[in-house]
Symmetry: C2
Subunit: 107 residues, 2 copies
DNA sequence: CCTTTTTATCGTAAATCGACGATAGACGAT
DNA sequence: ATCGTCTATCGTCGATTTACGATAAAAAGG
């Protein structure tokens, strides 16, 4: 039993918002990464972006290092291992039906 | 630009609850997979479990095939490709600092 | 010291989520 | 046709989330 459902759910929750994904993409592609740049890029209020950054930091997905009056944010990809491990586990059984054949479909 | 942030966020949101992760683990390990078994396993009210199943189905993560009065649920791992692709992308740059060296730490 | 810049926090309002019981619908069996 | 079983939906309630403006806190620079 590798990682707890709560742990994985916390990570998934942190990723479950477009603005936060946008921030992560930004951190991936931007050499400078102060909060101000992030605010400009996502187009939300500064306080809202700060809250998204707090959520990502609380989940361990990013780190923030104080650099003078600013904060330099960076990705911490290894934090996502519990989530990726779980998803990989789901893919393991290639494809065997669970019920006896001969059903109608739904969706 | 492979997948949209909204699409990925929807998948992450569907995974962002321990009960739903529990259901997915159950579907991975259980040969029979009718809703009733799931209700017993997660220990929540039938209506609550049905709602979790609806969310997973809406996200495409599971499928439900009607089998008489029951519904047979099964995993659909390929639905998670947008999410796994995104997370894999985050891991690509091994580790280069984004700011000039010489900062204090936060977290 | 005071000002400027940058980030975090507070308070609040609207929206969404999670859980439940009650009810309705679908199906096989009697 | 009716009954029993299984699942989905409805209505509701409390908790959480998201967003904002306003305000406070920290640090560099004049």
């Amino acid at each position: 039993m590798p990682y707890s459902d709560n742990e994985i759910a916390e990570l998934a929750k942190a990723l479950a918002h477009p603005a936060r994904l946008r921030i992560l993409r930004l951190l991936l592609s931007t050499p400078g990464c102060m909060g101000g740049d992030i605010v400009d890029a996502v187009g939300l209020a500064q306080s809202t972006v700060s809250e998204h950054l707090r959520i990502l930091r609380a989940a361990g997905i990013i780190t923030g290092e104080i650099d003078g009056p600013r904060v330099c944010y960076a990705l911490n990809p290894s934090s996502l291992i519990p989530l990726t491990t779980f998803v990989a586990t789901l893919k393991s059984p290639p494809g065997d039906a669970c019920c006896v054949p001969g059903q109608k479909e739904t969706t």
